[in-house]
Symmetry: C2
Subunit: 102 residues, 2 copies
């Protein structure tokens, strides 16, 4: 493969990556929307935000659905980051009150 | 809303979250597959793995496609983790050689 051929193939792969990334961003936002709904229900019912048992279930679900090539550890680290961001959002919402005011 | 009603609603939301998460795992693996293809092409053409300019493009793409409610900073932090995992995969592949042997 010449360097020029390699560059062309890489360009094709990058178009695919950018498309996958946009779909990941959409799903992350969809997830955030549901997390916000959960926050509202918890606030209304005065339930605790942080439920370690539920977080275990979230990890069990993602691990179980992972068919690779990504390793279990990599999936876990990525979801730790995602869940951490979601926890921050719920906490901020909780502090701001029902209508999102500060 | 009674506590029982709240529990029911939370359960519905959790089914949605688990479904979104499985789709995120699928996309992460799809992305990993393309990253592995990129690694093979780079190795064959003896191009460098790490290209900071390309990483800037990846971030520009995800930021541009983010419509919220997730903040720009949260999206960036999540993709920093994703890209870091992908970089590790490419490096490991590079070291193992063309057929994945150690």
């Amino acid at each position: 493969m010449t360097a020029a051929e390699a560059r062309d193939r890489l360009e094709e792969f990058r178009v695919l990556i950018d498309d996958v990334d946009r779909r990941i961003v959409d799903l992350l936002n969809e997830r955030t929307g549901v997390v916000e709904d959960i926050g509202r229900v918890k606030r209304e019912a005065q339930l605790p935000i942080y439920e370690p048992k539920r977080e275990d279930q979230v990890f069990a679900n993602v691990m179980e659905s992972n068919r690779g090539p990504l390793s279990e550890e990599a999936v876990r680290r990525i979801f730790e980051r995602i869940i951490d961001e979601m926890r921050t959002i719920q906490r901020v919402r909780m502090e701001r009150g029902p209508d999102g005011e500060k």
